[in-house]
Amino acid sequence: MKPASFDYVVPRTVAEAVEALGDTGREAQVLAGGQSLILEMHLQRIRPGAVVDINRVPELDGMRVEGDELRVGALVRHAAFEPATAVPGPLGALLSRAVVNIAHPPIRSRGTMAGSFGWAHPASEWCAIGVALDATVEVTGPAGARDLPARDYFLGPHRTARRPQELITAVRLPLLGADTGVGFIEHRRTHFTFAQVAVAAALTVHDGVIVDARIGLVNAADRPVRAHAAERSLLGAETGRLPAGPRLPDGHPFALAGRIAAREDAAPVAQPYADVEYKRQAVAVLVGRTLLEAAADSHARLTAREGHHR
């Protein structure tokens, strides 16, 4: 299949890009990495009147720490997060663990984090991390710039609170404290394809007691999900001695949180080879295992800090 004909616009500034998007006479699509858009255009499931290619807008590139947040510009590619040290602290570890699950290297070298937020696929790793950590999506439109909290941003598959004339300029993620451990586990049929279910977790542990828990569910609903009910069940729980293997005893707080996430937080949509029952099972198992990974990470960080101070 070939794309239908379209206008191609190459702005040099955010203002020019917004102007191109603001032409309401034709439907416009923003092109950054193009790893989803171009395929959809090939299949003619999207037939935009104009493609606004933002790759030559220098102010959209680069990421940096601002205060207690990481600001990721709209042109930062997935691959930028592959080294765990690209971003400070446990957030860097979480992004690094998650990013290798995004398709394969050629796609990661072009696709962008902001593009994932714009596309809002229910199986996006970044979007689930965004809702779990309370990220912020920065957009600029004809009426100026505004911040959209991730929790209010996702409205359904490929549907967001961004208006068609608005451009995502950056995504901001809160940095994680040194006492937070992270985990990310994805379940999919082959390395190349989308997650059937994946889970991101961040656990903050003080003196062996969980004081904060953040759990993001990938592809467990028609949009990314923060597993609030499961998180609440963990507050005040003791991590105790961690099981060695991937399998958790039924009564373990992580196993319990997994069952709560599957029952109360997830709202799975059936897919070929993953009906609702199976997805709930996968959510329960993966939440438990990811929490275990996060707790182990937290423990390892604590041990490293103590070793450093000794």
Binding site: M1, A4, R45, R189, T190, H191, F192, Q281, A282
Partner: protein, 759 residues
């Protein structure tokens, strides 16, 4: 360059291959097809008017606009179809009044390029009144929805062997029964289908990535009403076929017809989306088996019933399931074997040979059932196989299903597979894990297969020639057409070896019907076995001809002329005279021999073994080790055979674990994400694969080569499924149906009844 392994590698790996889509013909039009979005329906109207006004569109036609458009030809080759099956069931190249599979072509648009043509496609409107769709044999069998009014959906019934006396089942010490689904697969070559038709004077040159250029020439000539010599078919570099590129497809009929009608070059370059919708499928059988043994594990009887999904039209593959029936007996001396089949029309694209072509279905059925029987008898599955193998001294061996196995040593292949795997070590690990509640369960599976290569009776020959030139070089020609089988490397090396000349002096010409007037092509793993044997034969004839020529030249008896290293030699008492091949041609004129050579049907075999680890909470299967021991007789080029075995094994893994087509409620495949929905194993999924061989020469030709290409597809799936069943210790193997997706394995692992047998 020295670093390339094969002659074709430098060209192909540096981007200098020349495929049909690379051939630039001035004024060529691109075809794009308007395709049905429904699986089954009555076509009420097609309107191409608006498409004709699109800039760059040269024309747009529905079936009504092309009254002379011939229908799609059927084939009787290898019993793939029959006159009875196609009677009353026309396959129009463009839908006339009834859509029978999703994606079936409703109209064609020709444009200056593919973009323009697709712009035209977007302007064509069609009205289809949907009918209920039947996409599985079980749904289609009762004829409550008929694909052809007044005709049953059962287009062919067949059997091999004799019915088993009920007393045998009644009196047997152990009888097991099971049902298996052989999943419908897509062959998925890297390059999809291609055709470029160029009218030149009163001739038509057709370029196509194709396995059987002479068949394509014959079929196109018949549908144009031309004599075959007016058509030249050329096969340039071709990016894989796996059986799926040997017919004249509906789109080919349309392209050839329009090229002649318009007097302009026309091409169709199938894209992946089209290929996933309308290229031929493989496998697709629902099987029921019954196997009986005495208390010592001697097999008594085996019964295989097949309901085959042959797709919407019986023209290309309605008889393909007979390949399964004929090979039902497997590697064993079971005295009574009876296979029956019903080929059922469904609202899917047609089923056609795909690497293995009927033999994987047979091997998987018997090999899964052997494990089931071993469990019932409380016997080691390895031992059960050993007790029943056709022994090496029993060949040629006639099976109850009518095959005559040529040669083999099945136990030797199994021994090598187990030794390579480290069977005892893995058994110990499996048993250790069974005692450790925290360990993931591990299982071991084997599969011992026999298959058939070369082709069916009447199709076991090949044509070709060997010609010597004045400069001492040699040209070999044959009727084969490679799509990745390394002919350019292997065949010249073979001819050079027979003649005793350097390989570099021999050149191969094939895949061009003007260069080689007759030929069969490349299918059924026949390249080395049949075309190789033919070239060996022709090269031997050339030596005889050269000796006769030299004898006449020198005025001596032919028996005094010897052949040594590409040279004719006369050893006389007064001193030797010797003349090279080139000088002989200079002295005596053109030297070329051509012939038709017929090989015997061959039966390659092997043993595959797999170790898998299962995560019962998620249903994930991880293959820890796969060993493939294949015996294809005499090996011409070990690196090439190894590559074939490896690729084939990967496709076997694909069938076992990943590849499947899900349908929506309207019978349309859920493949909108392309290869994100139809999963092929990728580099990241590959387990360690050990390829080994045993070499039992095939008696069917002096060369002794058997088919090498399809082994992995045939042997690997059952080894993997058996390993998963072993890991989970399933009482009901029917819970495991390919592909073993995580959800299905999770359900099987949590089914209430678990076998707690003594294995």
């Amino acid at each position: 360059m020295a670093q390339w392994t094969r002659r074709e590698d430098e060209r192909l790996l540096t981007g200098r291959g020349r495929f049909v889509a690379d051939i630039d013909v001035p004024g060529c039009l691109d075809a794009a097809f308007v395709r049905s979005t429904v699986a089954h329906g009555r076509l009420r109207a097609v309107d191409c008017t608006a498409a004709r006004d699109v800039p760059g569109v040269a024309g747009a036609w529905s079936a009504a606009d092309l009254p002379d458009l011939p229908p799609v030809p059927y084939t009787l080759l290898a019993g793939l179809s029959t006159e009875d099956a196609v009677a009353g069931r026309e396959w129009p190249a463009l839908v006339k009044d009834r859509v029978r599979y999703p994606g079936e072509a409703l109209a064609v648009v020709l444009g200056e390029d593919r973009y323009r043509a697709e712009d035209g496609v977007a302007e064509v409107t069609a009205v289809i009144e949907p009918l209920p769709a039947v996409v599985t044999p079980s749904a289609a069998l009762d004829d409550s929805v008929r694909l052809f009014d007044g005709l049953s959906n059962i287009a062919l019934r067949g059997e091999a062997g004799e019915p088993v006396d009920p007393a045998v089942w009644r009196d047997a010490a152990a009888v097991v029964e099971a049902t298996y689904r052989q999943n419908l697969l897509m062959p998925s070559p890297m390059e999809c289908r291609t055709i470029l038709a160029v009218p030149e004077g009163d001739r038509l040159t057709v370029w196509s990535g194709h396995q059987m250029p002479h068949r394509l020439r014959r079929e196109l000539a018949a549908l144009l009403g031309w004599s075959p010599d007016r058509i030249r078919v050329v096969v340039p570099d071709t990016g894989g076929a796996f059986g799926s590129k040997s017919a004249a497809f509906p789109e080919f009929v349309v392209v050839a017809h329009l090229a002649v009608k318009l007097g302009r070059p026309v091409r169709w370059i199938e894209d992946r989306r089209e290929s996933m919708l309308v290229a031929t499928r493989g496998r697709g059988q629902d099987q029921t088996v019954r196997l009986a043994a005495d208390a010592d594990g001697r097999l008594l009887a085996y019964e295989l019933k097949i309901d085959a999904d042959v797709g919407a039209y019986p023209h290309l593959g309605v008889g393909l399931p007979m390949q399964t029936a004929w090979m039902a007996a497997g590697a064993y001396t079971t005295p009574r074997v009876h296979a029956t089949l019903r080929s059922v029309l469904t609202n899917t694209m047609v089923t056609y040979p795909y690497r293995g072509a009927g033999r994987p279905e047979a091997a998987t059925a018997i090999e899964r059932t052997m494990d089931l029987l071993a469990g019932r008898l409380g016997m080691d599955p390895i031992e059960l196989r050993r007790r029943n193998f056709v022994p090496p001294d029993a060949f040629p061996y006639e099976t109850p299903t009518g095959r005559r196995y040529d040669s083999g040593n099945y136990a030797a292949a199994l021994d090598l597979a187990l030794e390579t795997l480290g069977y005892d070590r893995w058994c110990a690990e499996r048993d250790r894990r069974r005692r450790d509640p925290d360990a993931l369960p591990l299982g071991i599976g084997v599969s011992c297969y026999v298959e058939r290569s070369g082709g069916e009776a009447g199709g076991l020959h090949e044509f070709g020639s060997v010609e010597a030139h004045e400069d001492g070089t040699v040209t070999a020609r044959c009727g084969a057409a490679p799509s990745g089988q390394s002919h350019e490397t292997v065949f010249p090396a073979l001819v050079a070896k027979v003649l005793g000349v350097p390989e570099a002096r021999v050149r191969l010409v094939e895949g061009d019907t003007d260069e080689q007037p007759e030929g069969l092509g490349s299918f059924a793993s026949r390249s080395a076995q049949v075309a190789g044997a033919m070239l060996q034969h022709a090269a031997t004839l050339l030596i005889e001809r050269a000796r006769t020529r030299a004898a006449a030249l020198w005025g001596v008896p032919a028996e005094q002329v010897e052949w040594a290293d590409g040279t004719v030699v006369h050893a006389a008492p007064g001193g030797a005279s010797a003349t090279g091949l080139g000088d002989l041609v200079k002295a005596t004129g053109p030297l070329r021999v051509e012939d038709r050579y017929e090989a015997g049907m061959a039966f390659p075999f092997g043993a595959h073994a797999a170790v898998t680890e299962v995560d019962p909470e998620l249903g994930t299967v991880r293959v820890l080790s796969l060993v493939a021991v294949d015996d294809c007789g005499v090996v011409l080029d070990p690196a090439v055979v190894r590559g074939q075995a490896f690729g084939s094994a990967v496709q076997g893994i694909g069938q076992a674990l990943y590849e499947g087509i899900a349908f929506d409620d309207n019978g349309v495949p859920q493949l909108s994400g392309g290869f994100l929905d139809y999963l092929l194993p990728t580099f990241a999924e590959l387990p360690p694969i050990d390829i080994k061989d045993t070499r039992t020469p095939g008696p069917g030709t002096p060369l002794g080569a058997k088919g090498a290409g399809e082994s992995g597809c045939i042997g690997s799936p059952a080894a993997i499924v058996n390993a998963v069943a072993d890991a989970l210790r399933l009482a009901d193997p029917g819970l495991l149906q390919m592909p073993l997706t995580p959800d299905s394995v999770w359900r099987a692992a949590h089914a209430p009844e678990h076998e707690e047998g003594a294995r």
